[in-house]
Structures are given as C-alpha cells and as structure tokens.
Symmetry: D2
Subunit: 392 residues, 4 copies
C-alpha cells in the first residue's frame, strides 16, 4: 500500500459517497443464512424504507450489480428486440444508457441536447406528439446527470407525456438524485426507476435496483429479451421477490441503518441540507469564476442546478486533472474528473449523502488553495460559501 | 430484530462461509475513489493472488454479481444462439446452469447422471467420441456439486476430451471448491472457470468472476449473444479489465486479506485442513448412520466425497428441515437444507473456509444432540469424529 | 505477528471473556467529547443498567483501572491506616486482596480455609461473635474465587453477621460472578461491591468499579488513607460521579450494548444458561475423572461449584500447562492456567459471558482430544456433557 | 440517543483526539489471552515504538488509568511523605498535579507564574540555586499546558538545573505534546515522563504510562508512599514490566498501529505537519483578533505557542461556551472549553493527532461562521489560514 495520507480523507467525488460510521459498522458482521429470521426482518425493513424514500408502493427488484446492471435489467425486462425507446440525452450517462439499450436490439432515439442546459421540454413534447403510432415504448430520463450536474424536471416530462396523450412508459434513472433532492415516483407518474446503493443511500457500490410500478410490470409480461440473472418473472417467485443466486446480506444491514438515519433526520431536512451545501458550493464556484481567465460553472441554467454535484470547467489551457491531483496529493481531497468528452476539461465536486458544513467548507477551502497553487485566477470562493451558509 | 441468540453463531451452511475477523475489518473502511493509488494496489494484489490460487496466468473478469451472474457472463461471452454445449448433470447447480444457458438460445445437452455418484467418465468420453462433427462447443462441469456433495474428477474429464481429440472448451464451476481442495486451472486444461467470493475465498456474497484462458478468449471473439453488463470485450478496454460501472472496492480489500491468510497458512495446508475436518464430519456421519433407521451419507462413491460440504439424508419420515430448525433455534447452528428435489430430504454441513477442529466438533456435537432430540436413531458420531481427528 | 491459526479462536480462559460482535462494533467508533449529549445518555443508560444487574440503587464509582485498581479504590476509600478487616481466604484472589490491603497500613485478618472447599460459615460466625469490641471493620468475601472455582454463599455470610449482631461492613468481589449467576447486592445486605468489565459484562479489561451502599458512603467519610485518583469524595462532585481525569467513553458504548443483550435475553435466562453450560462442563470433567490416574475436579463441595469457571487438577506427573499448550497450539483453544501455588497443577475452563452449547462442546471435545494426545487416562467426557445438556 | 447530526463529527477538542480508522479497526478484535504469543509480540512492538517516540531507552510502566493516574503513579513511586517537589505552575493541569501530590503528604512548592506567558526560566534557576540543601527532590514541568496552550522550553529548564548543579529529578508531563512536537527524553535529561494514550498517540483514553530513566528507578527504591495498583517494584517482576491485574490488550493493538502510522509518515513530518496546521490556526486567530472588541490569542509569548492546541479568549461579555454550543449544535464541531478560572472565558481548538488541511480549514471556517452568528466582531481568519498554509 502507498503510505496513508494523514488525517481524514475528504471524499468529494460524486459517488460513491461518504458512508456514515454506523452504516459501516452495521455491515461489519459475521455471515448469516439469508433465510434466517434476523435477516428477513432486516430485508423487509430496508425494502419498506426504500419504498418510502421512493414514494412508491410497488415492487423493487434488487440485483447484486452496479447501476449499469440495473439499467440492463430494466431494459431487458421491459422491452423486446425491435422496440423503440426515446432516451433524453445530455451527458455521459444518458449516452451510456442508450448504448447499452442498443446492444439488446432495441432501437434508441437518443434526443440530442445542449449538455450545459439539458433537454428542452418543448422538444420532448414535440417528439411525443409527432409519434402518432405510439412507436415509442418508453421515455427514459436521467434525473440528475452526474457528468454535467444538470437536473431534468421530471414532472414537466410527465406533463409532456400526458399532454401528448402518449402511452409510453416513463423511466427515470435516480442514481445520483434519490435521497439527495426531491423525487416522487408515484406522484410524478414514473413507471420504472433505476437506482443504486452508492450515492444518496450512503452505501458501498454493488447493489442496484429497479422500482417497478403496475404499468412496468404489465409491460414486462410481453418482453422477449433473453435474460436469466436479471429476470423479474423468476424473481417474483422467490421469497425476496429479487435476486438470482445467493442473496447478499451485507448491504441490507447497511441500508436498514442508512434509511434509519434519513428517517431520523427527516427527508425534507435531508433535501434542504443538500440544497444548502450545494448552494454554498455554487456560491464558491461563482466567486471563483468572477476572476477573468478562471473557472466556470458548467451548468448554464440555474433552474437546473444539481444539489448533489457541481461540475466546474477549468480554463482551456489547464487540464482539470492536474488540479485534481493537487487536491488528492497535497490535501487528501478526492474530486471527480470529467467523463468522456469532458475528460480533462472539468472537475466535479460531489456534495451528496452524509455531508455537513465543515466538510464542504474544508473541501472548498482546499479547492481554492489548489486553484492558487495551480495559478488559476480566482475570486474569494470560501467567503462566498460561508456567506451563503450564513444567509448573507 | 428477533432477539439475538447468545454466544457465537455456528455457521455450517455450505456457503456463504465464515468470514475471518481480519477480513471483516479490512472491508470496514471509508469510501475511496476506485482510481486512487491505494485501491489500485489492493486490486492488483488481490487479482494476482487469485490467479495464484487458480493456478492460472490469464484474464480474470470480475463482476458485481452472484455466482449465477458469473455463469451467465461466461455463457453469453463464449457462445452464440444456436451453439450446443454439454453440461454434466448431477445436482441442483448443474441443472440451473443448463436452464440459464437455454435462456440465451444455446442448446444444452444435459447429461443425466446418478446424483448420488456423479457422472460416469466413460459416458462423457462416449458422448464426445460420438460427436464427430464437433457440434459440442463446450463441456461444462460443476467441480463440487454443493447440493449433493459429490466432486467431479476434472482431470479425468480433461483426459476424456483429449482421448476423444475433441476441441470443445472445458468449463468448470469452482464456486464451492476453490480454496477448499485441489484445483489447477492450467494444469488441468480448463479454459474457463466460474467462481464466487462467498465460499473458499471467505468473503460476503456479491462478487463473482470468470477466469478465462487463451482458448476462451479466442472463442469469445465469435460470440454473438447480446450483452452489455457482462461484456468481456468492453471490460478488456478498461483499467481493471473487469466490471461495468462503478468498481466495488470493498470486496477487494477483503480479498487481499483473505488471500494473505491463505498464503500465510499455505495452500497445501488449507487443503489438508479441509480434508481433515471433512474426514471428521464423514466419520461422524458414518457413525450416526450405523444405527438402523437413521441418517445416511448422500454421496455413495467414497472417491468423490467432498471436502467442503457433506450432504446427509434423513430417514424418510423425518423432514430434514425440522432437524435444521432444532439446530438453529436450540443450538444457534445454521446448516444447509436440501435444494429442489432434495428439499426436506437432506441437510448439508458446510465445512469450508475459515474452520478448525473445535468449530466442527461443536457443530457435530450439536447435530448429534439434535438427532437425539428429533428421536432419530444414531450411533456415536462425535467420538468417531474425534478419533478420526486423532488419527485413530 | 505469529501466523494466525485458522478458524475462530476458542477463548475458554476464565476472563477476559468472549465479547459479542455487536459490543465490539459499538466500541468501534470515533472520538466524542465526554460532555456531549450523545455520551451522557449512553453513560446514564449503562450506569442504570449496571445498577439493575447489581440489584443496587446507589452509587457506582467507575475507574479506568483493572479489578485490582477497584480493590485498592474500595479499601482506601473505606478504611484508615490502623483499621482491621477480615478477608475470607480461599484462593489466589482473596490472598491478593489481603496483600494489597496491608500495603495501605490496614490490618488484615486473613482467614485460612481449605481451598478445595472454601470457607466454613461457622468459622466466620465464630470470628465475628468473638470480636466483641467490633474491631473488625469489614468482612471481605470473593464471591467466585476464579482461581479455585469455589463459590461463597454470600447470604450465609450476611446471616452470620446478622446473627453475631456485628456492624462490620460486608464487601464482596463479584468480578467473576456478576452477570453469570445470582447476585443481589441490596437483598443480601452487601455494602460495597467490586466489579470489572471483562467477565460477565463481556467487555475488554480496563474498566472497573465499586458499587457503594449507604453504609459504605458513610464509612468513607472517616477514611484517612491517602488517595487522589480513586477518591470518591472528589468523584461525587463531578458530573459522572466517577472518574478522575478524561472519562473513557469507549467502554460505556460497549456496556450499554452488553447490558441490552443481557436484558433482551433476560437475566434469569442468562443465569440458567450459565448453570446449564457449567453443568455440562462438570459432567465432562466427572467423566474424565472416572479413569484411574486421570484428572480431578478441584472443588470438592458440590454446593459450591462455580457456574462461571471450572478448575481441573491434572495428575501429579503432568504439568497442566503442557495440556494447555496442546489446546492452544493444536486446537486454537485458550484455557486458564493455575495461579500461584496451583501453577502447573490445574487448568481452568472459563464458561462465562457470551457462550452457548456448540461453543462449550467444541471446547470440551478439544480438551478431551488433548487429554488423549497427552496420554492422560480419561473417561468419555463429551458424551457426558451432551447427556447433561439433553437432560439425560 | 439524541439524533445523530449529519456528516462527520469534527472533533477539535484538545484531547482525546481523532483516531484513524485503521487504529479503530485494529482495536475491534476478539478477546485474547494476554499471555498469548500474538499479544506478546504486539505488546513488545508497541513498547519499543513508544520508546523510540520518547527518545528513551529505559522502562515504561503502563497503567490502565487516565493521565491523572499516571501522575499519581509517578509521584507515589518516586517520593515519600515529607519530601518536597517544585511544580512549575501555569495552568489548570500544573495546579492539579500539585494538588494530587499534596494528597500523599509530599510538600509542593508550586511556582506561580503568568498563565499567559508561562514560567520564567530565570526564576526557576533562582529557586534551584537558592536551594543549597537540595531539599527540592524534583522539578515538575507540564510540557504543553493544555488549558492555556503555552509550551515550556524543557531544555532550558534542564540547563537551569545543570547550571545550578542541582540534583533534583526532572519530571515532565508530555500528555499533550508527545507525538505532536519535539520531545526528547534522554537528550533533554528528563528522568521521568508522564504520558497518556488519548492525544498524540491517537488512541482512546484509558491507558497511561510513566517512562522512567535510571535516576528515577534509583529514586524509586527509597519511596515509602503506600502503593499497590501503581507499584513499580511489583511491576518489574512481571512479564510485561507493567500493570497490576489483567493486562488490557486492546490499546496495544491500537498503539502498534498508531505508531506504525507515525513511523510511516516520519516523526519529523508529523512534527512539521503539526507546526503547519497550528500556524494556520494562529493565523486565523490573529486575523479574527484584528477586529476591535473581538477575540484574542490567550498565549502572549510567541516563542511558546503550542503546536497542539490554541486557546482563544472571547470578549468579556461573551460566554465562550455559547460560541462552543453554536459550533456543536449548528456545525457538528466540538471544541474545548475553559478549565477552572478560564471557564466561560476561552475556547480551545485542538489541532493534534490525525489532522490535515481540509480538517483544520473546515473547523476554522465553522468557527468563523460561529463568530458571525454570535455577533463577535472578527477579521477574515479563514483566508489568513489559507495564506499561511500556502506560504504567503
């Protein structure tokens, strides 16, 4: 192992996220038969808590998988080769969703959009209205595009579907929004939700899920994609209504605890805390950006700012990763890099999950010092963040 | 939660297995970016250690998945719809392997065998020799059939392939053998190996893998099965040559430690310890079986006894699960139940992973007391086990 | 570090004891100011739970110390140089109590007794009756003498005090009895109790305490022994009514959990479990002893058998420690050795705290195998233990 | 339990200190016989590492105790009733040391000094020179007075002793300096050192020690203070040359790891890191103090600034504890309060142990926001701290 850097590691990568100690401890436990009463109770508690977090009363299919596995599971269970789906572009993750979908013979209409503003709702409406034959089987939206830090207003997309009287399923990827800011599956008319353990749920990566509403379960019956590991029909016949093979017990002990922490804090308080800390981050970024030749907020539409992550453009001549290296090597702070086309051009500050004021302020102060060390002109971000938090 | 039963839980279920405390502690750690140097080093260490354990110098594709996921990954990466594979039956797991394979349009020739003795090598040879057109693309064997506790002699199968000059790939499922008794991928001419984290590797469930030799990698190039999450080609282009999506770091910190423990003990010592404790278990079972109307060893071929699990038949009028319930409720001992057709007819004592003499003796004494409480006639098993261990 | 021995370590030393995983996890937590509300609540909960366990409504003075420190604290807070106390002998620990007391200028009348039977109550009565001038300020009894496994009937000693109308304080050392078998401070008229964390409380060593009733607190006012670290008067003025210096928070998080476990199981059930497992141990020992030239139970008065530890004499020509070494090196089982005069002559099996049937049976089976390997003649102990547990 | 505050707790109390996760995990382990080889090796490793940290080749007596216990142990082992010692005053802890010493009949000459500047070396020299009869048996100095954040220059005191050709023992309390800034026992001619686990050693409270050089061991032989629990003579006869009663194993597993971390980082680097972070803290404090009517650094002699803690005076009309409450309740930051006479007048920022830039910056930003919320005028401290760290 490389020598440990002293002090606590500041993990400001937009996922995975910081895991509360009590969640880590809940997962640090001996093996148990997954059919034991102890586990069944924990499982049912965690599942019910997750339904509550989703505002969803229906099925949740859990997989031992990453979020990409949950995407695949969702598509192969809902659609058939030859079907067409509309995926709203806007960043690395929506593109990846499209790419995987095509692998299974499903046609994808990937709507191209300005990555710095996110999709135009009117354009979505137009597409749906034009699809008189209802060829589009589903509209797929990434709620919070983690690569760009742009949020899509899901209720507006539902309104577009309703207005166009289009019967397409509405699918949302909430991997980096759930547990961070408002999301309501049932109220917003979302038929299937893809989620993962490693962000707002404050757990390690490796558990992912699809929440499926009644229309999704109905659509599943007609799906002909080949599947086994991710097959919902088989899952519905098992005790856990989830999983193929050995049920991993560890994440559920963690999830029961992380959902208990969210419940104890109160979900609206969790959301407002994320808003507050995100606001401080953006205040710092705006102040840094005030200097000519400096950084810039990537998202250009303030109504779509993300409360879980902030993507920041570095000046053209500066590789964002060199800034990240200063942060990592000199300050023990981990930030996210740019994905695909944004590689080297942006860095991303994650502010989701188990976070508070001194954590984000320590991170922002380190970023500001790194800007200084990298000779990037910048305004006084840390004071702006403190003022934002103090409501000034 | 139901009230905790006092004292340590004796986990004698044939997987998952007991996790050493130092492995649990290694996994109880804060989040880290999976691209951090600290993790890269751990990952590379764990991967190299696993190659050594497998006696394999080639690729290992890791998945966030259960063992069933690794099966699926292996089949969809190696074959194409319309291909034919020979799966050697013999228990619940070989049947499941066959069932999943067929889901992807691959024809399965499931060789039926006597579950209590395992496959006849001559019959395998015959099948291969008869396949003059080499329609059979692969021979698939479950090394240790966890449901029946019957071991297949993989070198004999390789010899049959060689003797028949058949070019089929040779695939082995080592989920419940690797790290428990002898397995040598390269020496035994095995082209692809399916393994999981939760047995001999002494880790929680949720990580699985395929080790792929050169012929498997070559075959992969022609595979046309639809795939994304499990796609090897995409994996080969990534830093980790594994995984789709966020790399789960936790199991690798655990694996580095569990492989260090195996290395420290010495693999031959690990194998001989398994043999010794398995021998004691079978000695107890044989002694119990000496009473008329009592239990019986399921496996009828002593040359195929498993050193990782022992399946025991209960008398016809006794539901094996009632015995397991006594063990669980009155003794805090967890054993495995019968799978599929064997449900209620057998119980299974796992003796794999992190186990020693007093652990197995405590388990066997509890089983013997449970036999008494369930009014099942039995001889003196515990003394037989002690004598076996004392070399009497 | 020496290489780890595979499998779980069987800790059958009579203290410290096995610590439940949930207690270990409760103590595995970051630092906290001991004046924080979180800690105050845990502290008060643990203290109230300990009062309940003691059947005591008064003060508890906690010390960062071993049990020896609590002895010292108790003596220097209650007495003055020149005072006389009666200490009931019977083993290593009562002798040590006497030795320490004398260090502080307090005269000790150490009543000599047959170590294999414990004190004669009549003799105690006689001593007290003879002390017309009430020179004896206290009667000090070790409830469970851990070195010999002989229990003193405390209510009988209280009766002797009452009968003799003697005003001496009654002090009990419950270090290896509390939480293991019946003890009732108030009902039994005990004025001060010395206890430690590392046995029935299932915590690591390092925390000890004195529970003080009203007569002890009154006596304290007249004590002139020099003291600072252990001074009760100063403690009574602090928030915690305990401790000098930084309050160690870790053991209280553990104690809150261990007392919760005891409460959940039910104290009478905890006592009967200890009785049951102790009975099995003695049944094994009796069976081993049935062979000529073999081992022998040390305690010769069955009415005083200990339910927390069993001391076993080895044959004269056998050093008990060689047997213990076989257990440790070949079976990963730790037993206790003989203390002082008993060194090399006895070994001790601890059966206190977080223990169940398979744990004790695994231990006893290992002891029996070690007897075989050491060529010590022995009967069939493990079967006797199993029969005892099965109520045969 | 009160609801958990989200995010990581920022512990900036001057002791105990932040415990690295790997140290917590090393202590989270099952029970072991303290005579086991595994423990002996860890113990010897930890002891040797501590000797190295102390620059001391002699005895170390460990106690299950707080630092106050180690003080008591040191005094009762070195002196006799009627002896006289010179204790250099200057804060809460030196006064407490004096108070305890007197409890044991030892005369204390407590040298009164200006708490905001610490002792005048000339005055110490004068005292020693005047003591022609060598009545003073020892000079006792608190290296880092945690209550005032004033450091005493120990080599200067040694020079005064030498210059006065005074044979008094030289005792130092290094509880809050060892592992934080330079301390060299042998080179500085210190005869006995009192230390504790909970500060620079980054362990929980509950383990304390005295390091004793040859002159101290010689002096011990003549000591007549009553003692048992802390008696060095008895300890020297035991395997561990330490402890009375059950050896607590847990802190040694932690200490072996914390000393390994210090070794890995390099002690000079540990010291310079403490200097750097302390400098940033003082830069912030100086900037805050620049506003009229605001806070003030307590220590008035820059040559005696402490690198492990900074004491800050609040304006007269402000109770420092109200500021601390804002920090605790609104920012999840724990700071230290004023002790004894300083109660309510100061707050203390601990910056010792496992600390880095973003940790201290997050803390300082929170303090600055709390100053704002408490309407205490203040300059821009966080920017001053960042400039200090950036070497501006």
């Amino acid at each position: 192992m490389p020598p440990r850097k002293p002090g606590r590691h500041f993990f400001a990568n937009p996922g995975p996220t910081n895991i509360p100690d009590s969640v880590l401890r809940a997962m640090d436990r001996p093996t148990l038969d997954f059919m034991e009463a102890d586990f069944l109770e924990i499982y049912d508690t965690a599942r019910a808590g997750l339904q509550k977090l989703l505002f969803h009363g229906g099925e949740i299919f859990f997989y031992a998988a990453t979020g990409h596995g949950a995407w695949e599971a969702t598509m192969v269970n809902l659609f058939s080769p030859g079907d067409t789906v509309l995926i709203i572009g806007g960043g690395y993750f929506s593109s990846a969703w499209a790419a995987l979908t095509e692998k299974f013979g499903i046609h994808v209409d990937l709507m191209e959009v300005d990555w710095r503003r996110g999709a135009d709702i009117a354009q979505i409406h137009e597409k749906l209205a034009a699809d008189k034959s209802h060829k589009i089987k589903a509209v797929c939206a990434v709620h919070n595009e983690t690569s760009t830090s742009v949020v899509l207003p899901l209720p507006d997309i539902r309104a577009a579907l309703n207005d166009a009287r289009h019967p397409a399923l509405f699918l949302a990827d909430t991997i980096s929004s759930l547990g961070c800011f408002e999301f309501r599956m049932a109220d917003w008319g979302i038929d299937a939700v893809v989620g993962g353990s490693q962000k707002g749920l404050m757990l390690p990566a490796g558990l992912a899920f699809t929440a499926a509403g009644p229309r999704a379960l109905e659509a599943h019956k007609n799906s002909t994609c080949a599947k086994f590991y991710f097959d919902w029909t088989a899952m519905l016949g098992r005790r856990f209504r989830s999983f193929t093979g050995t049920v991993p017990i560890v994440p559920f002990f963690g999830m029961a605890e992380s959902l208990r922490l969210i419940e104890e804090e109160g979900l609206p308080n969790v959301w407002s805390r994320h808003a507050r800390l995100a606001g401080a981050t953006r205040a710092a970024a705006a102040a840094w950006a005030s200097a000519a030749g400096g950084v810039e907020l990537y998202c250009q539409d303030p109504s779509r700012y993300s409360n879980s992550v902030t993507t920041i453009l570095t000046p053209e001549h500066i590789n964002a990763d060199s800034l990240r290296e200063i942060l990592r090597e000199q300050f023990n702070v981990s930030t996210g890099g740019g994905l695909a086309d944004l590689n080297g051009k942006v860095f991303r500050i994650g502010h989701m999950g188990d976070l508070n004021e001194p954590m984000i302020l320590g991170t922002l102060a380190a970023v500001e010092m790194a800007l200084t060390r990298a000779n990037i002109p910048h305004g006084n971000g840390i004071n702006a963040a403190m003022e934002a938090l103090n409501g000034a």
